[in-house]
Amino acid sequence: MEQATLEKLWEMGPIFTEQTPHAKKLGLKFISVAKGRSTIALPFNAKLIGNPESRVIHGGAVTTLLDQASGLAAIAGFDTPRMVATLNLSIDYMRAAKPGETILAQAHCYKATKHIAFVRCIAHDGDPDDPVATSQATFMVTVPQADNQAHNKDKTHKKNTNRPDANRTNPNEKTK
């Protein structure tokens, strides 16, 4: 990877991590980026507790951390950084995160094809050999906006209003 590309990644890494509205809300912190690799931290935050008795952070917050770290590794996995969207994220939870501890996510994009990036990620609170969670994700290169619109024209999404449950599509919708 060229020096200029790496410098660009280090420039966008913190913005991507800390300025994304939801990542900012959770308090994610950019740590590092390299070719196909990234590390992001989630400092403990009482607002993210998912178990009031044990004060353990909710799995959903760990999901966001893993998604964000894996996404950055995917972007950095291409020879020239590409914007990506998550296709699938599969997470195994090994144990509860220790209350009060910062969780680190280390992601590795081990393969990037023309359109797809494959990423593994490990979340731990200090010892990578004692993980909180591990994940496997696939990302898709997002098509430039112009091409995307042309592509959408081919799609004819028909709504079947005859089906019996047509009126329960959206519980909040007042008229159908």
Partner: protein, 138 residues
């Protein structure tokens, strides 16, 4: 599902408050809603909801479904989840409904669908295994 229990369980979870998750009860069906919030955005340019916020919302929906099977408020532990992102999460309200596929002694298998303006066009789907609180364990 017992609406009152879900309401109480969500109120006890700081993460549910952080996301803004609320329950909806209609015609004997329980869904959760993730009201649109600028703070749940993951891509401001598109714009699109954050995959992590959506994933967390789906996981919470599954956990609430499993919680209904136990006689405690002790939240189930997630063993593993698999999330498929099918469409961009538009900056509008998102709904999710869970289905319990298998309930064992300790482990439950749950599937969840998330949709926005069309139930037949889900924006994400999740399936996962959860460890239930044992009887008497609270």
């Amino acid at each position: 599902m017992d609406p009152e229990k879900i309401k109480q369980a969500l109120e006890r979870l700081p993460y549910a408050k952080t996301l803004g998750v609320r329950p909806i009860f209609m015609g004997g069906e329980t869904s959760l809603v993730l009201p649109f919030s600028q703070e749940n955005i993951g891509n401001p340019i598109l714009p699109a909801l954050h995959g992590g916020a959506l994933g967390g919302f789906l996981e919470m929906t599954a956990m609430m479904r499993v919680l209904m099977e136990t006689d405690t408020f002790k939240v189930p532990k997630t063993i593993g989840i698999n999330i498929d992102f099918l469409r961009r999460g538009k900056p509008i309200d998102t709904f999710a409904r869970a289905e319990l596929f298998k309930k064992g002694n300790r482990v439950a298998n749950v599937r969840v669908r998330a949709w926005q303006d069309d139930f037949e066009a889900p924006i994400a789907a999740m399936h996962g295994h959860f460890l239930m609180a044992a009887k008497g364990e609270s």
